[in-house]
Symmetry: C2
Subunit: 253 residues, 2 copies
């Protein structure tokens, strides 16, 4: 078998998330259909992450395997060949050969999500599918004071939503939680060893509560300690979120 | 009569340009419909600019007048009131009272357009409606050398397209023609006293020819001197172009 690694970007607006069990409107379905046209074995994708309905990606990583007899397309032409079979809201941005031992999910050491807010009384129409419109002027200094509390290893139970009734181990390490403003656009850059279900949107929703003056910055510490979802802000909506990149250990280490 | 100045932003993807004579699918039609719900006199808009099919705006300026008896909405609530009647791809980003002498077109002293290119083998799906995909790596240094030749007062006949068989006076003054790269995105910032029809897209199309090595940077001087459309590059497509801002003389000068 030959293994390939694909880095994907997509506009999640039209999709029921990364993988949809029933509707066939998952992003993965689109790519697997395109792969089936190139490889008779119709390989299935293994993904670093599952994004929710409406969430976007700029650097989601996947892998797939095909029998050696089928892999006649050189890796450098593979992205082009797959893209030719994809709708224009999904794109392979890089395709490379991967060692047999590579695993897109288990080898990931960290992930970065970015979340965009349009902070102006009127929404920018060109940003409406990729940024959350928050009309009230946010207090950036307060939000930054609160953001530092998320950095480090914490039990993030208060910032997640149960998926299929399950929670999973609640400890995660946040390496970075930065807030950048460019004009009316505020971008959250959150990098962590991993994210609980809807954890990123829970963090952003809470930071916006702080930015609107509805909750003091220091209260984040109490929320983390509470392990209770009811203490935190509501989730920020899906369409502002982008899976930005997935980190792997450099080869040979 | 009371005069108001509106600053508008829109995603031009779904529209037949600013003003469509027949189809009713012009951006202006949307705003005039929203105004008609607020003002019985159904005011018409006078615009600083007419953008083409598929071109976007972040700061197009218009004005309209209503009888004093109708203008009960305070200016600071006007943007909100108009936006309530608009589809989400068109937004009033500012509404202010304007002096009776103000004219959105005749008082404009300069305009800035921005043009975005996604310069990577694979298009970013989230940018596909607002940036032109140029897969071949562009030579930024060559493009910048060529761009400086546009600055100054020139006869721009070679960089325009006749509209309705007419050309108009061909002299324009370009104050700024800068090229900025941020990752895979290249943005052209072009500010001029005014633009001939499709002049901005003609300039960008030519600069991309230079960036692809299909034409030396110095040839722009010969193109300008030729006054001949056939010497220049083809127009860059509409969907990468944004009318960014319109400049007016400060009041009292």
């Amino acid at each position: 078998m030959r293994k390939f690694k694909l880095t994907l970007a997509y506009d999640g607006t039209a999709y029921h998330g990364w993988q949809s069990q029933n509707s066939g409107r998952g992003v993965a379905d689109q790519i697997e259909s395109a792969l089936a046209r190139l490889f008779p074995s119709a390989p299935r994708l293994t993904s670093s992450s599952r994004t929710d309905t409406g969430v976007h990606a700029r650097g989601l990583v996947t892998h797939f395997e095909v029998p050696c007899t089928e892999s006649r397309i050189p890796a450098r032409q593979l992205a082009l060949a797959i893209n030719a079979g994809l709708p224009d809201d999904v794109r392979v941005i890089a395709a490379t050969r991967a060692p047999a031992s590579f695993h897109a999910r288990f080898d990931a050491t960290a992930k970065e999500y970015r979340y965009s807010i349009w902070n102006h009384p009127a929404m920018d129409p060109l940003a409406r599918h990729r940024a959350w419109h928050v009309p009230r002027l946010l207090d950036l200094a307060a939000m930054r004071s609160a953001a530092v509390h998320f950095v480090g290893t914490h039990d993030f139970r208060a910032f997640t939503t149960k998926r299929d009734g399950r929670l999973g181990a609640p400890l995660r390490t946040v390496n970075r939680c930065e807030i950048v403003r460019r004009g009316a656009e505020i971008t959250f850059r959150i990098e962590a060893s991993g994210f609980l279900y809807k954890m990123c949107r829970g963090i952003v929703g809470t930071l916006v509560q702080v930015g609107e003056g509805r909750c003091p910055a220091g209260q984040v510490l109490e929320m983390l300690a509470s392990h209770d979802r009811r203490t935190t802000g509501s989730n920020a909506p899906a369409h502002g979120l982008v899976l930005w990149q997935v980190f792997y250990r450099p080869r040979g280490q």
